[in-house]
């Protein structure tokens, strides 16, 4: 318990942000204390209700929400919350309940329709905000839950293959190769006919739809994806984030510029330095040494979470914990990866380190569940 709380590093860059974050931390600790005392069975029982509420909030935010570029924030009592964060939690719980109650893991693709629907609904609602990064997390939740529930890897492969088609659809040649691989796979695994035809058709459709869907993306999202491929496409606009982040990290060198002294951050060249690009600040101010310390701490923490998942005796709790492991891991990879240009700029926060109240709260609730599962084992 203490190891987790000790990971919180308050962002000092944005004046006043750390005060609000302290308030959120207090709230989160209270929530942690409360949730950690709730038996997992109660939670399993309440899951459908939580899920329903979160879907309702997602619908509500589409109507009355606010925020920069996207409608993802709900404001009340002076605080802004992101319903998408609650929806992640709810979706994890619901998937865990669905998959954990089964004795045998599903291997047939069509048997997976219920978990798929449970994920697709919030996924689409978040996409509509539009928040590409958070939507991606729902895919991670689905894949990780299925993986941990024992679904064969090939079944998961079949499930996500249309998604890959969607991405590769821009290049006819690459997509063609991919489609041949999928069809060969289907043939070699001797899949059921209906399943195979459905997957193949879905791949075809996704490849064909890629371009029209791309055109429907918000221009800022298109730019972010393009900039991932080449930051110099738009050095003053979307590429600015990435270039400045690399400059900040690179100028940190081995030992860094000193805590609180990073000029890139201090002079506001680094955007979103307290949320999305907080790790760039770590790189600039604490250097490679600081980066490695943080990476080792985070890896160690995730390893502990994974161990809780694998040692748990109850399938519901184990699934929940593994899903949180996967979500945090995805956040870590995407957030840190984008600061060095390995990942597209998506605006996903870094667990325990970034500023962001709703996310901190969800993280602590997740942590509470992990602790509860560990306690119940």
């Amino acid at each position: 318990m203490i190891w987790s709380a000790g990971q919180v590093d308050l962002p000092s860059g944005v004046t006043g942000a750390w005060r609000r974050q302290l308030v959120w931390l207090a709230i989160s600790i209270v929530a942690f204390a409360v949730v950690a005392r709730v038996p997992m069975r109660w939670l399993e029982w309440a899951t459908p209700w939580i899920y329903t509420i979160s879907i309702f909030l997602l619908l509500l935010v589409l109507v009355v929400g606010g925020g920069p570029n996207t409608r993802s924030w709900l404001r009340f009592a002076g605080f802004s919350i992101q319903p998408a964060e609650l929806a992640k939690l709810a979706t994890i719980l619901l998937l865990a309940r669905m998959l954990g109650s089964r004795k045998e893991p599903q291997s047939r693709l069509f048997e997976l329709w219920r978990p798929v629907v449970a994920v697709v609904v919030p996924f689409l609602l978040v996409m509509a905000q539009p928040d590409l990064g958070s939507a991606l997390i729902f895919v991670v939740i689905l894949v990780s839950a299925l993986f941990w529930a024992g679904t064969p890897l090939f079944t998961i492969f079949m499930l996500v293959s249309p998604g890959v088609s969607l991405i590769l659809g821009f290049s006819a040649a690459v997509w063609g190769v991919w489609f041949v691989v999928v069809v060969m796979g289907l043939y070699l695994r001797r899949s059921f006919m209906a399943e195979a035809v459905a997957v193949a058709l879905a791949n075809l459709a996704a490849g064909a739809l890629a371009t029209p869907l791309w055109n429907r993306l918000a221009p800022y999202q298109q730019r972010r994806l393009l900039v991932f491929l080449d930051p110099d496409v738009d050095p003053r606009g979307a590429g600015w984030h990435l270039i400045q982040s690399k400059v900040a990290i690179g100028s940190g060198g081995v030992t860094g510029q000193g805590f609180g002294l990073g000029p890139q951050k201090r002079l506001a060249f680094l955007p979103e330095q307290h949320t999305d690009f907080i790790f760039s600040v770590v790189g600039e101010e604490l250097g490679l040494i600081g980066v490695l310390v943080f990476l080792v701490l985070l890896a160690w923490f995730l390893r502990r979470v994974l161990r809780v998942a694998s040692e748990s005796s109850q399938s519901f709790g184990s699934l929940v914990v593994f899903c949180f492991f996967a979500v945090w891991f995805a956040h870590l990879v995407i957030n840190i990866g984008m600061t060095v240009g390995l990942m597209p700029v998506t605006g996903l926060p870094l667990p325990f380190i970034s500023y962001g109240g709703s996310f901190l709260l969800t993280t602590f609730v997740g942590l509470a569940l992990v602790c509860r599962v560990a306690y119940e084992t």
Binding site: G283, L288, L292, L295, A299, S310, F329, V340, L342
Partner: protein, 617 residues
């Protein structure tokens, strides 16, 4: 329970797989940071610097300009500028309103400043850049009231002699768009102060010095955060001091005696070196007005003044040379053997020369009677020179004059000089008037410096310098420099020395013999030799010319004067007394011993009173 065990086992495998993925990914991330921070660290460190450091030029103090005696003509003094740091509009307005009485800002000024602030709200806005020490002190005393105010010093040009030397020094101003695009100013940035006219312009590269650089740290919005001490910073190198050949005292003297209501110019050269001793154009302007940006109203007043004070009438204005031109004819005539100094023309002067159906007049209606060349110069007889021109013939006249360089400029080292104009050949006339549109009669007008010839004052002075010394004409220059002491050998008159001396003695008679056209204003102590001129022109009364040199036998000064419309009748020349006084003043100040016998130094009659004796032409 076996199913559960199986699930648990497979879960262990999955857990190990997940842990492996976690490990690999963390290693990849660490490697990415290693690549960026260790392998690429240097270049990113540099980028980070470029990001936040902005070079700010430190203007160099321009080199001072001195006259030949070390008198100051232009200097750089500390100027004070006052700027307002970025602030909300209301705060800026309140501060400006409070500053107004100390800086003598009008409400219009305040509005203009606020407008500039609106265009660039992130940057400090310049309030005034021409403050004096008193104004700065007044603001500094009330520092607590004016926390947004920044006062900086920068070099500021000052011309102590003001309008007297304005056409020589020129003035400075902010570099223009066109100048920024030109090759000459390739290393200049917008906002730099550059020489615009005169010496300031022609020796810009020497005077400018090298601007220094300081570095400030800025944030992403471009606001200045602080001064950044950097090893890249450079102090400004002040420009080179220039010493001119000009004599400020002489210049001021010319200014004091130039008839105020007339326009015109006075030029004096040292005929041995080409040093310009005096270059005065009237009316003039105050070059100090241009420093720090001239106001629209002041500029309009200067630009739209019908008297054109900006125009340099010594080098950039063309005038018909009038009778001063007769020495060009005499030179060509003697050189070609057409005439000697004592040659008489077939027709003696009866006030006009009949040519074809037209009578070409002499200035003296009753006529000069028979005259040889020397007396024709002395009395400036047109009829003699009409005949000399005819005897020379049109083509030799045109090519001879062209060969003396009268279609070119002197090459003086200030910008804006224009070339003289003289028809180089018959083709010129054919093109202008058509083959049948003109007759050989043009020779007559050209012979007396009228018609299709126009020259600058400086160009005539250059020609007379060759007559004075017997050498090639010198190239006039204002900067003291051996390298600039050049001659135009190709323009040499090539007169045998004896013939030249005869011409000089004729010029001496003009000033020093009763009946000479400049006799009434001869200097009392030195022998001035020269030629008067009365240039008919379309702008009213004739222009009054005088070009000459003194002392006649060992010339130290060539003087050329033009007074526009300065010759209202046949008796009064405004140019001759000016030339005479300037020459006396200069030779006196240089300690040149008088070369005229004392008995000749009789009191000079008051001009105009007994004008019957000798009109001037």
């Amino acid at each position: 329970m076996t199913g559960g065990e199986a699930a648990r086992l497979s879960r262990g495998r999955r857990s190990r797989a997940a842990a492996a993925v976690l490990f690999v990914v963390i290693v990849i991330l660490a490697a990415a940071f290693f690549r960026l921070q260790v392998l690429g660290g240097g270049s990113y460190e540099l980028q980070s610097r470029n990001n936040r450091l902005r070079p700010i030029p430190i203007p160099a103090a321009r080199g001072a300009i001195y006259d030949r005696d070390g008198e100051l003509l232009a200097e750089s003094i500390p100027g004070y500028s006052l700027s307002l740091l970025p602030a909300p509009p209301d705060t800026a307005r309140v501060t400006l309103d409070r500053l107004a009485p100390y800086l003598s800002l009008t409400p219009d000024d305040v509005e203009a400043i606020l407008e500039r602030r609106r265009r660039n709200p992130q940057l400090p806005v310049l309030v005034r850049d021409d403050l004096n020490f008193g104004q700065v002190a007044a603001v500094e005393e009330r520092r607590p009231e004016f926390r947004l105010v920044v006062i900086e010093t920068h070099p500021r040009r000052r011309y102590p002699a003001g309008s007297v030397v304005a056409h020589v020094t020129g003035y400075v101003g902010e570099i223009s768009e066109a100048e920024l695009d030109s090759d000459e100013f390739v290393e200049y940035e917008a906002g730099r102060i550059v020489g615009k006219q005169g010496i300031e312009r022609s020796y810009e590269s020497l005077l400018a010095g090298a601007a220094g650089t300081r570095y400030v740290e800025v944030n992403a919005r471009g606001s200045i955060v602080r001064e950044f001490p950097s090893d890249l910073a450079r102090a400004a190198e002040p420009g080179t001091e220039l010493h001119l050949t000009l004599d400020l005292a002489l210049q001021q003297f010319a200014d004091s005696i130039f008839p105020e209501e007339h326009r015109g110019a006075v030029v004096a050269l040292d005929p041995r070196t080409g040093e310009v001793l005096l270059l005065y154009s009237h009316p003039s302007f105050d070059p100090n007005l241009f420093v720090g940006g001239i106001s629209e109203v002041e500029w309009a007043a200067i630009r739209d003044d019908p008297r054109q004070p900006i125009l340099n009438r010594a080098a950039s204005a063309l005038y018909p040379p009038g009778s001063t031109w007769k020495l060009v004819l005499a030179t060509l005539g003697i050189r070609g053997g057409t005439v000697g100094i004592d040659t008489y023309m077939p027709t003696s002067c009866r006030g006009a020369l009949q040519f074809g159906r037209r009578a070409f007049r002499c200035w003296k209606p009753e006529g000069h009677g028979p005259l040889d060349l020397s007396s024709a110069i002395k009395e400036s007889c047109n009829v003699f020179f009409y005949q000399l021109g005819l005897r020379l013939g049109l083509d030799p006249l045109l090519s001879g004059v062209d060969g003396l360089g009268f279609n070119q400029a002197t090459g003086v080292d200030i910008p804006g000089e224009i070339s003289g104009r003289f028809p180089p050949s018959r083709d010129w006339y054919n093109e202008k008037f058509g083959r049948r549109g003109w007759t050989e009669a043009v020779v007559l007008n050209l012979s007396i410096g009228q018609g299709e010839t126009e020259q600058t004052l400086l160009r005539l002075a250059q020609f007379y310098s060759a007559l004075a010394t017997g050498e090639s004409p010198v190239v006039p220059h204002l900067l003291q420099s051996e390298a600039l002491q050049q001659v135009r050998e190709d323009w040499a008159p090539n007169l045998p020395e004896a013939r030249r001396r005869e011409l000089v003695s004729a010029l001496t008679r003009v000033v020093n013999e009763p009946g000479g056209t400049a006799y009434w204003h001869r200097p009392r102590e030195w022998t001035l030799a020269g030629k008067t001129g009365t240039a008919q022109n379309p702008h009213g009364e004739p222009h009054s010319w005088f070009v000459g040199f003194a002392p006649a036998n060992d010339p130290r000064i060539v003087i050329a004067v033009i007074v526009e419309n300065g010759h209202p009748d046949n008796q009064t020349s405004r140019a001759v007394p000016l030339a005479s006084q300037v020459v006396s003043r200069y030779l006196g100040s240089e300690g040149i011993p008088p070369d005229r016998a004392l008995e000749d130094q009789a009191p000079i009659p008051v001009p105009g009173v007994s004008a019957v004796e000798g009109g001037v032409q």
